[in-house]
């Protein structure tokens, strides 16, 4: 089911167009990646979803109802930077933000206790934010974002500033929330985490959406017939066997075991290729190399530049 629908949203700042007819649809219990280079309009879109600013034109729907102030309670937003009152005590601050989101004092305290224990922050309850390390501040920010158990979570670069152990901790919590039924919008430049976490993505460049779809579909669409073959034998043997139907991109290994990256030419199918190869070499593995999201991202954004 569709949780959030953004319909033809436009936003202009003075003479600068920040969002140009953006439409996206995010289904429930999904992790949705919002990708794009710096200044593409992602933050503006996130702000509009958070109702921090309104769109110039276009509409947003949350579970079919027009997005309104009541939905604030069911949305959680983790901004890119740590945004906390530096001089305020950790516990007090977390309590304040939780109550602003509509939790009662008692509920907020109970939940905070649980999360502070989980993230090993209890000892810092009475310290000022500025006395905490970056990573700890980010943890506090994370707790503040998810404390009211929102149906829609918006994370803007959630992993920046964390060491690998804490990245895993946060990643697992994000997946946990998805499994418990939350929908997650995930804005990042870290393509590895997109591949790992996201079900669907939208790529925004220069205020326009230039790509949308599920990560698997997109990868399929952008694949370019590249395969990796490992076999026993010499470097030259593969060339002899395929009659110039492939282009060899990269060869590694030596006489004992070879690994090559090839690109298929002349519309040859994988089965045909294998038939050609089998009599000559002993194949150990045969994989299709799908393009990484990183490659697709760069390719699309660069293409966009050429067109404009």
């Amino acid at each position: 089911m569709e949780l959030l629908k953004v319909n033809d949203v436009n936003k202009q700042f003075g003479g600068f167009k920040a969002l140009d007819n953006i439409s996206i649809s995010i289904s429930e219990k999904n992790i949705y990646g919002l990708l794009g280079p710096n200044g593409a309009g992602k933050t503006t879109l996130i702000r509009i979803i958070n109702q921090i600013t309104g769109p110039d034109s276009g509409e947003l729907f949350f579970k079919g109802a027009k997005l309104n102030q009541k939905h604030i309670k069911v949305i959680g937003y983790l901004p890119e930077e740590r945004v906390l009152y530096k001089k305020m005590k950790v516990g007090e601050q977390a309590l304040y933000f939780a109550q602003l989101k509509g939790l009662t004092r008692y509920d907020a305290l109970t939940k905070l206790k649980y999360w502070f224990e989980k993230f090993e922050l209890q000892a810092w309850w009475n310290n000022k934010i500025e006395e905490l390390s970056k990573g700890m501040q980010q943890k506090v920010q994370f707790i503040i974002t998810i404390l009211h158990e929102p149906e829609l979570l918006i994370f803007d670069e959630p992993f920046s500033g964390f060491d690998p152990i804490n990245v895993n901790l946060i990643k697992n919590e994000i997946l946990n929330f998805r499994d418990k039924g939350a929908t997650i919008i995930f804005s990042t430049h870290n393509m590895a985490s997109v591949e790992e976490l996201c079900d669907n993505i939208a790529l925004i460049n220069k205020a326009k959406k230039i790509l949308e779809g599920s990560v698997t579909d997109i990868k399929q669409k952008y694949k370019s017939n590249i395969f990796e073959i490992s076999y026993k034998g010499g470097k030259e043997e593969i060339n002899r066997a395929t009659n110039n139907n492939i282009e060899i991109l990269e060869t590694t290994g030596n006489n004992g075991l070879c690994s090559v990256k090839i690109k298929l030419k002349n519309n040859i199918k994988t089965n045909d290729l294998l038939q050609l190869l089998l009599p000559h070499i002993q194949i150990q593995s045969f994989n299709e190399i799908l393009p990484s999201m990183n490659d697709i991202f760069i390719q699309r954004v660069e293409n966009d530049k050429v067109i404009n």
């Binding site: 604030i72 930077e81 009152y85 305020m88 602003l100």
Partner: protein
């Protein structure tokens, strides 16, 4: 509404707990109380007794100089050289030498006579003046006698004039004695205080907004509450900090004054002073002491004649009104800029009317009911300070009500105006803002 009260609570508590707030709260009343107590105390305080040795070669002032509680004279019958030696080996504060030559100089009427005062330290101006006056008196008496005028006749002619000012009220109301010096002092004090309060707490609003903007906390808050709620929450929270500080100051000042009243009952005893003044002979006091008591009495009576309830209520009202008017503008500035350094160009239009009203203070006090004072106390930008300057001199209720009404209109307008700038500015980063840009936000 619940969220606004959360914001107010946070703004209030974080500020009230600050060390700077606690220090100001303690220092303020000590300063205020000392402003009231110290002059009275000093007027009453008896210094250690100083004894001055006198060598009088003329014989005119021998045993004639008036003794006071803290100034005694001892007359040495010896020549000045010996006297100097004695002085060096004694506890005399100073040595007064009136040489014979003075009398010879008397012929030259317009030349001042000059006795010499030797001392170990630079003698205080008061002592110098006192001795000069006393010697002058004695020499004048001597001259009068020489001219055949009876000094007693002269004394009977001497008069003293002291104007008592009294406010004439409508028939039936009790007439109150007033004291224009005290009114002036109070007027300046409360005018400056309201100016300081508006500036101090207005700037706190601005700094708070800048802090939220630069740390981007505002993004998280604005995703939970409306910008207007955040702005009003901050303004109201800080207003309550101001009120708390003011009330604590009043209470602590009262405590300190009461403490002094109990510790030194004589100083504050109006009844006893009245008695001394009306019947100076019975109290066996020197003329100078009675003068002093009279002065203290006047000050105390002046303070007693002030209607403190009216002063405090009007202070609170005009502080709140003026603060709300300016704080909204301060908030708008904070929202428009990226750092405190950028505030300068926008601060001018706000600070000018405030500073102007302080500059006009002297003028208003000289003519508290003149047209300039009247109009400045009606214009909302200047009225908080100017009205506080005028109130100690008495202002008609209609004028106060009109001024209050206009002030409320004024702050409703500035709040509306500021909210428009605030809501756009608070989410705008890295853009150099000018007045043209602000105008766009207003009409946006």
């Amino acid at each position: 509404m619940k969220k606004i009260s959360l914001i107010i609570k946070r703004e209030y508590l974080t500020r009230v707990r600050k060390k700077s707030f606690i220090i100001m709260t303690i220092l303020g009343p000590i300063l205020m109380a000392s402003l009231m107590i110290v002059p009275i105390f000093i007027a009453q305080m008896s210094d250690e007794t100083k004894t001055i040795a006198v060598v009088d070669e003329t014989g005119l002032i021998y045993n004639q100089l008036p003794q006071t509680d803290n100034l005694k004279f001892e007359y040495l019958i010896t020549d000045i050289t010996t006297a100097k030696k004695i002085f060096l080996n004694s506890n005399y504060y100073a040595l007064l030498y009136v040489p014979k030559s003075i009398i010879n100089n008397q012929a030259a009427y317009n030349r001042p006579i000059s006795p010499i005062l030797f001392s170990g330290y630079q003698p205080s101006l008061n002592i110098k003046m006192f001795i000069a006056n006393s010697i002058k008196k004695e020499f004048e008496t001597a001259r009068l006698e020489a001219s055949g005028i009876d000094p007693n006749v002269l004394k009977s002619i001497e008069m003293k004039v002291d104007i008592t000012t009294t406010l004439l009220k409508e028939s039936g109301k009790k007439e109150e004695s007033s004291n224009s010096e005290i009114s002036t002092a109070l007027s300046i004090f409360s005018g400056i205080l309201i100016y300081m309060f508006i500036f101090m707490f207005g700037a706190q609003v601005m700094r708070g907004v800048i802090e939220e903007k630069t740390s981007r906390v505002v993004e998280v808050i604005i995703s939970s509450v409306k910008p207007f709620q955040l702005m009003m929450g901050k303004i109201i929270g800080i207003a309550m900090v101001g009120l708390t500080q003011f009330c604590l100051w009043i209470i602590l000042t009262l405590i300190i004054i009461t403490f002094f009243k109990f510790s030194f009952p004589n100083i504050f005893d109006l009844g006893r002073m009245q008695e001394i003044i009306s019947n100076p002979q019975a109290s066996q006091m020197t003329m100078q002491n009675i003068d002093q008591i009279e002065k203290t009495h006047e000050v105390l009576q002046g303070i007693a004649s002030i209607n403190f309830a009216v002063m405090i209520i009007s202070f609170i009202f005009f502080f709140l009104g003026g603060y709300l008017l300016y704080a909204a503008l301060f908030a708008a500035i904070g929202a428009a800029v990226d750092s405190e350094a950028d505030t300068q160009q926008f601060m001018a239009p706000i600070t000018i009317p405030l500073i102007f009203s302080v500059i006009m203070a002297q003028f208003v006090i000289n003519n508290p009911n003149g047209p300039v004072a009247f109009w400045l106390s009606m214009i909302p930008l200047t009225s908080p300070v100017i009205m506080m300057l005028r109130i100690p001199f008495g202002v008609s209720y209609i004028q106060v009500a009109a001024s209050a009404f206009l002030l409320i209109l004024g702050f409703l307008f500035t709040t509306w105006f500021a909210a428009k700038i605030y809501r756009t500015g608070i989410l705008m980063y890295g853009k150099k803002i000018n007045y043209k840009e602000l105008w766009k936000w207003l009409t946006y």
